[in-house]
């Protein structure tokens, strides 16, 4: 497809500016002026509309097809939340308004969204206080680790390490390292849970925290979680909960009750806000009381007369971690989702997410290796080990599914499973949609035995075939204008 820049025709413009009603053409000195013109395309509004409509049609999306991308929780995103976020009282509100004297009185509705979400998320997770500021899951992790560092610093603890199981998301070690910690990795046992014996050996007074996903990335809930928490607390370490998989346990248990001290939540996963082709998400962070005073500036606080204000007087805080109060529109959509579903609706989402994942695992276990065969939570992990013997890899099966009009599962993650295929159907998929996926997977398994060579050229139904990724990395071209600059 042509780039929008290749459609540019001098003289066209897709937007009509207002005619100036003030004296025109204020001059500024040449030395402050731009020399070379900006090359934004010159196209009409219709051309812009067609271009982006066509581009959108090249995407697979939840709105159009089954998207069981494990760990990413590609559930349906209710449309009414978009309408709520577009209300002018929210969409057109300037963030600095709430920082002006008396300005907060003109932002009470927005502050209530943040305040109520703090309360709701605390109740859902069993924590005491939340900050809405982190702008994504990984940003929440970094914020959480900074809170852990502040806690230890205040106690005079000199801690150097953060312990992370080898099944963890890559963001966990990256966030811990960004905050200045060294990483100790713990292997996974044959039953799919973290090896507690090795954890015991590695735990020492220099350990600042253990970061866990629970259920973990293999979709398994570790029944010994409270015992692990006790061990970690015994060396004055803190327990960090990666909330990526919170959608499995709503109403069933709460990280705060299990012994976790710090948690982040991916609102775009559990609370159904759109993933946007890779963001924006939101990663609020919750803590137990003893860590509350370190939360980022500012905090939304309620006065005795029930009015809300932004408290900037937080002397122990880790400081500003983003410019304002979080990805407000995302938080607003998640809030609307919680209000609509309510207590029972939230519990049901986890019930059916778990049922659907187990259904798929049971229907497919005859055809694909299940590395950890036990009841799973909201996602199940297969290995293409049997298919690899015929030369068919997880990526080949992924491309086969694309030709069937299904988005592939997450492949090659978790890294500890060879040829991993991680399937997360979510609660919003129908049995019929899952049955169709199962049929396609069975067909793939069958073809892998009978005709393995056919996979190499897949997909064939898409606008492009497999890209040359080596060339992309070797001859980096990420700017159309580079040569003409």
């Amino acid at each position: 497809m042509q780039l929008i820049f290749e459609q540019s025709v001098p003289g066209r413009q897709g937007f009509k500016m207002p005619v100036s009603d003030v004296p025109a053409k204020t001059q500024i000195a040449d030395r402050y002026r731009r020399i070379k013109e900006c090359a934004w395309p010159q196209v009409s509004e219709l051309e812009v509309v067609r271009h982006f409509t066509k581009l959108s049609q090249l995407n697979f999306s939840v709105d159009s097809i089954f998207y069981p991308l494990g760990s990413c929780t590609m559930k349906y995103n209710p449309k009414f939340t978009e309408a709520v976020a577009r209300l002018p009282g929210f969409a057109d509100l300037h963030p600095l308004l709430a920082q002006l004297s008396d300005g907060e009185s003109l932002a009470q509705g927005a502050l209530k969204v943040l305040y109520d979400m703090d309360r709701f998320l605390s109740e859902i997770t069993g924590m005491d206080d939340f900050t809405m500021q982190p702008l994504a899951g990984a940003h929440g992790e970094l914020t959480g680790v900074m809170l852990i560092a502040a806690y230890h610093k205040a106690k005079g603890n000199k801690k150097k390490y953060i312990i992370i199981p080898d099944s963890a998301h890559g963001t966990n070690p990256a966030s811990a390292a960004t905050a200045g910690y060294d990483i100790i990795s713990i292997p996974t046992k044959k039953d799919g849970t973290m090896d507690v014996e090795i954890l015991k050996k590695k735990l020492n007074p220099d350990v600042a925290a253990v970061m866990l996903t629970c259920p973990d990335t293999l979709g398994i809930f570790n029944s010994d979680i409270d015992k692990i928490a006790e061990m970690v607390h015994n060396v004055d370490g803190l327990m960090y909960y990666d909330g990526a998989n919170l959608n499995a346990i709503l109403g069933r248990c709460r990280p705060g009750d299990l012994g976790f001290d710090v948690i982040h939540i991916n609102l775009h996963k559990t609370f159904a806000t759109p993933h946007g082709g890779g963001g924006p998400g939101a990663g609020p962070v919750g803590v137990k009381k003893r860590l509350s005073k370190y939360l980022p500036i500012s905090r939304v606080v309620q006065r005795p007369n029930k009015t809300l204000f932004l408290d900037y007087d937080c002397p122990d805080s880790i400081g500003y971690t983003s410019s304002f109060y979080g990805n407000f529109a995302v938080i607003l959509k998640a809030y609307a989702y919680i209000l609509l579903l309510g207590k029972d609706g939230l519990t049901e989402t986890s019930n059916h997410a778990v049922l659907n994942a187990n259904y798929i695992m049971h229907r497919l276990k005859k055809y694909f290796t299940v590395p950890y065969e036990r009841t799973c939570m909201h996602e199940c992990v297969f290995s293409a080990a049997q298919q690899v013997e015929k030369g068919v890899h997880a990526i080949d099966i992924a491309k086969f599914l694309i030709d069937q009009g299904i988005h592939p599962p997450t492949v090659y993650f978790p890294m500890i499973v060879k040829e991993a295929m991680m399937v997360e159907p979510t609660e919003t998929e129908s049995k019929q949609a899952m049955d169709r996926f199962i049929d396609c997977m069975i067909k793939a398994a069958d073809l892998a035995q009978r005709n393995p060579s056919m996979f190499k050229d897949l997909p064939i139904t898409t606008p492009i075939s497999r890209p040359d990724e080596t060339k992309a990395a070797r001859d980096v071209d990420c700017n159309f204008f580079f040569d003409t600059k």
Binding site: F15, T26, N59, F60, G103, P280, G319, H362
Partner: protein, 446 residues
């Protein structure tokens, strides 16, 4: 009834039989009785109609008809309707990170176009596919400079947004980074002082144009001096201003970041916004965040992929260039749609309108007795006014009259309690500006 779950009671039973479980509860057997929640006090659910009604009422508790002369890095620009219509398409909104390029060419091509649009705007070689927002993008740029130079001293100009400076400090508390801040003189960078403290330990000088006071500058001389000593320069910019102002690329800056909210994103009470980042080609492998690259498919056709992923956390884990995973792809595409609608001429017109309106406001406010409009340096669409009285009180009084009159600088700058930062975008009409001045004069007289 949960409208987002398809399974009927019959289907649920059928699936449970397949799984070999008697009940859904049985599937949660790994969660032991002593793990059960101590409480789960969430209100009962409501219908969509009831929830929407609640939000209409709630949103009405926020300002809906204020006339904004408030900016400070976040601007009340008009967003063409086509932007919202296109970005709301489910095919963009409900896709995820394009891990499978064959079925994600829409997002990938759009992000390639976005990167290109940012490069030509800033006159830089390469851009990434976005970061969270302007403040955290500046922090990422500072750390990138530390990685590239292997040095740890950072010089920060006092004209850089005070919010951004606070963010940088929070993130580097536990790291071995030395910050030196140089205060502004007459609203501009203290270039003599910056050059004086620049040395061979300096990783980066961080500058902003226009700076927080709205002053515009040409930083070429500071950049030359930094390069002579092997330091890099990070420049934070306001994208709309680049329709007229000298670009960071033309000044020789090494890393450019900024807040992209002004490129077609609503104010949204602080987010989601758009952090953009661009740099020189030689630094592309040190840049954080997703990067979309052009390549060819097996048939030699042009296509787009996430590239240089070996920098990223999902491959490199603790050795990654950043912990960033998702960015704000949807906001990046949204800004691209805006940039395409404007085109090169629209950008120039928009910048000129902002400049002209602000200049008209400046001249109008100068006529008010007893206040002083600062003239020590040229400005773009923001300028400072010395009200000779507590600016925050004046702003509070103006709010009652329907105006967000500006940002009181005393909030972040000690000794500037009487100073107001006034912003004027293309949305302000001549009449609004005249009425604003009249009201301001009345408030000051009272």
């Amino acid at each position: 009834m949960n409208p987002y779950i398809a399974n009927t009671p019959e289907e649920t039973q059928e699936m449970l039989r397949t799984v070999g479980a008697k009940s859904i509860d049985e599937l949660f057997g790994d969660i032991k009785p002593h793990h059960r929640p101590k409480s789960f006090n969430i209100p009962d659910g409501k219908s969509e109609f009831e929830v929407v009604k609640y939000f209409k009422r709630l949103s009405a508790q926020n300002a809906t008809s204020l006339i904004y002369f408030l900016g400070g890095g976040y601007y009340d620009h008009y967003v063409p309707a086509a932007v919202g219509a296109l970005i709301s398409r489910g095919e963009f909104l409900t896709a995820y990170t394009p891990y499978q390029p064959e079925c994600s060419q829409g997002t990938l091509q759009a992000l390639y176009e976005y990167q290109s649009a940012i490069c030509t705007l800033t006159q830089m070689d390469v851009a990434n596919a976005s970061l969270y927002e302007g403040g955290t993008a500046l922090y990422e740029a500072a750390m990138m400079a530390v990685r590239i130079t292997g040095r740890n001293k950072i010089i920060m100009d006092g004209g850089v947004s005070p919010i951004y400076r606070k963010i940088l400090k929070s993130y580097t508390t536990n790291l071995d980074i030395e910050f030196q801040e140089t205060p502004v003189v007459h609203g501009q960078s203290d270039r003599a002082q910056i050059k004086k403290i620049l040395d061979k330990k300096t990783a980066a000088v961080i500058l902003q144009n226009p700076n927080f006071f709205g002053a515009i500058d040409d930083h070429s001389d500071i950049i030359d001096e930094a390069h002579r000593l092997g330091a890099l320069v990070v420049e934070s910019v306001y994208p709309v201003s680049l329709g007229i102002l000298k670009t960071p690329g033309e000044m020789g800056a090494d890393i450019v970041t900024g807040e992209g909210q002004s490129l077609g994103l609503p104010l949204n009470f602080g987010g989601p916004y758009l952090g953009f980042m661009a740099t020189k080609k030689e630094f592309v492998r040190k840049m954080p965040g997703r990067i979309v690259g052009q390549t060819v498919d097996a048939q030699g056709r042009r296509c787009f992929v996430n590239t240089l992923q070996a920098r990223e956390q999902h491959i490199r884990r603790e050795k990654a260039t950043s912990n960033i995973c998702t960015n704000v792809a949807s906001c990046a595409v949204q800004s691209l749609i805006f940039m395409c609608l404007l085109g090169k001429e629209g950008l120039k017109e928009l910048a000129q309108l902002n400049l002209d309106k602000a200049e008209f406001a400046r001249l109008t406010l100068e006529k008010i007795k007893g206040i002083e409009v600062k003239r020590s340096s040229p400005t773009f669409n923001e300028f400072t006014v010395d009200l000779k009285t507590d600016a925050s009180r004046v702003v509070a009084a103006m709010l009652k009259r329907g105006y967000a009159a500006g940002f009181p600088l005393g909030r972040y700058y000690k000794g500037m309690e009487n100073y107001l930062l006034v912003t004027v975008t293309e949305k302000r009409t001549k009449d609004e500006i005249l009425d604003f001045a009249k009201n301001l004069e009345e408030v000051l007289c009272n």
